[in-house]
């Protein structure tokens, strides 16, 4: 792997993120400032980019495809929504819609303490670690991998969606949660708050990017790639790949959770549709299009696909699913490394490594080592 100091795309992207984070607050109030809509969109895209990185870490670098990462994203999203509602209630006395809808007089007992952000954050971390830890341990222990693992993760997110659609669980049910008015004591929806949330997302993205880059460049990162390329080989060299996979899997889940926490305050709503299998599939598409196993690629993939989606869903909402499926087919058949293949075409690299990568892609989605 190229040393960090010579990894040009990575350094450029980090520089860009830092510049944006500094420029947006400085420009706010002047005529040069991006519109509220654009600022908000940038913030949401940054949250999606964090989500893409979380999947790239385990899929691109460890070869484990998850089609259920929406679950961890939703945990972050739901917990932050609970915090926002409870906090808003404490500050303004507004009773959340879903309580009124259910005819409940007060919050269910398990909402206790959610008005304190550190507590809510701790709960999100704990729940994410518990679910990813137990699920990962059981799967990796029985050496479930490849397509089987992907399908189980998809089932998991689907079950979670069905659960959250129920109105009696105390998490907003089918309408979800919305109407957040205060965050950390500040009113939401002001230009300043929109900028602040976008900057927080950009800074988090930059930090996550740097952290992931450090990890994959380390000895541990080399072991991740070794696990991806030939797990049995690594195990017969004395390594506990179960532990390695579990660590990265949980870390990835935490990053997805973090993305959810950044995303929900910016869209102002969460409902069970974040748990739909489609969203989880889409994350894989972002990463596949950007190029698995390339951090910068994952970020670019998330930005491109979502920009396309934002644009198309207003211009031609009906064709979006077809475009998405078309992209998937294109990536699988023609560009197994997504945009990274396009970059290689331009550089006219020899065929050898590309064919090798194709094989790896097939392994990534197809093959399950027993």
């Amino acid at each position: 792997m190229t040393p960090i100091t010579r990894d040009r795309p990575f350094l450029l992207l980090v520089a860009l993120l830092v510049m944006l984070s500094v420029a947006m607050p400085l420009l706010s109030g002047t005529g040069l400032a991006p519109s509220r809509y654009l600022t908000n969109a940038i913030g949401q895209l940054a949250a999606f980019a964090v989500l893409a990185l979380s999947l790239d870490l385990i899929w691109g670098y460890l070869g484990i495809l998850s089609l259920g990462h929406g679950l961890f994203f939703a945990i972050g999203g739901y917990v932050v929504a609970m915090y926002l509602l409870k906090h808003s209630f404490v500050v303004t006395g507004t009773v959340p819609d879903f309580l009124q809808f259910m005819g409940w007089k007060e919050f269910p007992f398990y909402w206790a303490g959610f008005e304190f952000f550190p507590y809510a954050f701790g709960v999100a971390v704990a729940v994410t670690l518990l679910i990813s830890g137990v699920f990962g341990y059981v799967s990796f222990r029985s050496r479930v991998g490849g397509v089987y693992f992907a399908i189980i993760t998809q089932a998991l997110v689907y079950v979670a969606m069905l659960l959250m659609f129920r109105n009696d669980t105390g998490f907003g049910g089918n309408n979800g949660m919305t109407g957040f008015s205060v965050i950390l004591g500040w009113p939401m929806g002001t230009s300043g708050m929109i900028t602040a949330l976008a900057v927080a997302s950009l800074v988090t993205l930059a930090l996550v990017l740097v952290g992931c880059r450090w990890l994959v460049g380390s000895r541990f990162g080399a072991l991740m790639l070794a696990t991806r390329d030939d797990e049995t080989r690594l195990r017969t060299l004395g390594y506990e790949t179960l532990r390695l996979k579990l660590i990265v899997w949980c870390l990835s889940a935490l990053l997805a959770m973090l993305a959810g926490m950044l995303y929900v305050p910016q869209v102002g709503i969460i409902n069970p549709r974040v748990l739909s299998p489609e969203l989880s599939l889409e994350i894989a598409v972002w990463v596949a299009i950007g190029g698995r196993g390339h951090l910068v690629g994952a970020v670019i993939g998330a930005l491109l696909v979502n920009a396309l989606k934002f644009w198309l869903s207003s211009a031609a909402p009906d064709v979006w699913p077809f475009i998405l499926s078309g992209l998937i087919v294109l990536v699988v058949l023609v560009f197994p490394n997504g945009l990274m293949d396009l970059a290689k075409f331009r550089l006219a690299r020899p065929m050898g490594p590309k064919r090798m990568e194709t094989k790896r892609m097939a392994r990534g989605i197809g093959e399950a080592r027993s």
Partner: protein, 242 residues
């Protein structure tokens, strides 16, 4: 330390009703190079799979160093105890450089326990031994077949294993490469190390092996020096004569 590195005792491996290894017993000593030969499907790879913990036997034991029955150990525990193995199909990590392979082979922690200079020295030493010094920074996926074979040998060698198992180390190599590999294997002989080589190339086996075990349908057909193997009627019939 016991004299016997590996004692295989009444080993049976079944795939369904088929016995790939059938009540097999054999002993391999420290200091020797043992060749295991036999026709396709004789159970040679399966034997190595059991010793390295990948396949669980139906019956029998494999004693390492005279004391530990390793048939219930995990692959990684067996490797950490000092038993290392090269696979029949060259198994390297395509996305890693040659040096990274040796670094992984030399140590078993998520974080290296050797300090950086010691590790670098060790890597250079191993690369020198297997003749890949020039290839250090190349990705394994870009290497030719012969280099991949040597890289894998280097990787399993890097930890100074007590038992070294090589499954078809010269398959697909040129005569010259085979010759180099033969010299490499002989150079790895040490009084406190047992080397097990599975191979079909009889000239190669003759050059490297101290003793030869002939497997057939999961059982030992013959055991002895290569001369005697060549002279044995039963062996000629099932294997060499074909």
């Amino acid at each position: 330390m016991s004299l016997t590195a590996l004692l295989v005792d009444g080993l049976t491996v079944r795939f369904g009703s088929f016995r790939a290894i059938d009540d097999l017993s054999l002993a391999i000593d420290y200091g020797e190079v043992r060749a295991v030969i036999g026709p396709n499907g004789a159970g040679k790879t399966t034997l190595l799979d059991v010793i390295s913990g990948i396949t669980r036997p139906k019956q029998g034991r494999v004693l390492f160093d005279g004391a530990h029955d390793i048939t219930r150990w995990s692959e990684s525990a067996i490797a950490r105890a000092g038993l290392r193995r090269k696979f029949q199909k060259p198994s390297v990590f395509e996305g890693l450089t040659v040096r990274q392979h040796i670094a992984i082979g030399a140590d078993v922690g998520f974080r290296s326990r050797l300090d950086a200079p010691a590790l670098e020295d060790r890597i250079s030493e191993v690369l020198e031994t297997v003749g890949l010094t020039e290839q250090g920074e190349r990705l394994a996926g870009e290497l030719g077949h012969g280099h991949k074979q040597w890289l894998e040998i280097g990787m399993v060698l890097a930890s100074d294993p007590r038992v070294l198992m090589l499954d078809e180390p010269v398959a697909g190599l040129t005569d010259e490469e085979t010759e180099r590999t033969a010299r490499l294997v002989r150079a790895l002989v040490r009084p406190d190390r047992a080397i097990v080589v599975v191979e079909h190339d009889m000239d190669f086996v003759e050059r490297i092996a101290d003793r030869v075990t002939v497997l057939h349908e999961g059982r030992t057909l013959f055991e002895g020096s290569m001369d005697k193997v060549r002279a044995d009627k039963a062996v000629v019939e099932v294997y060499l004569g074909r």
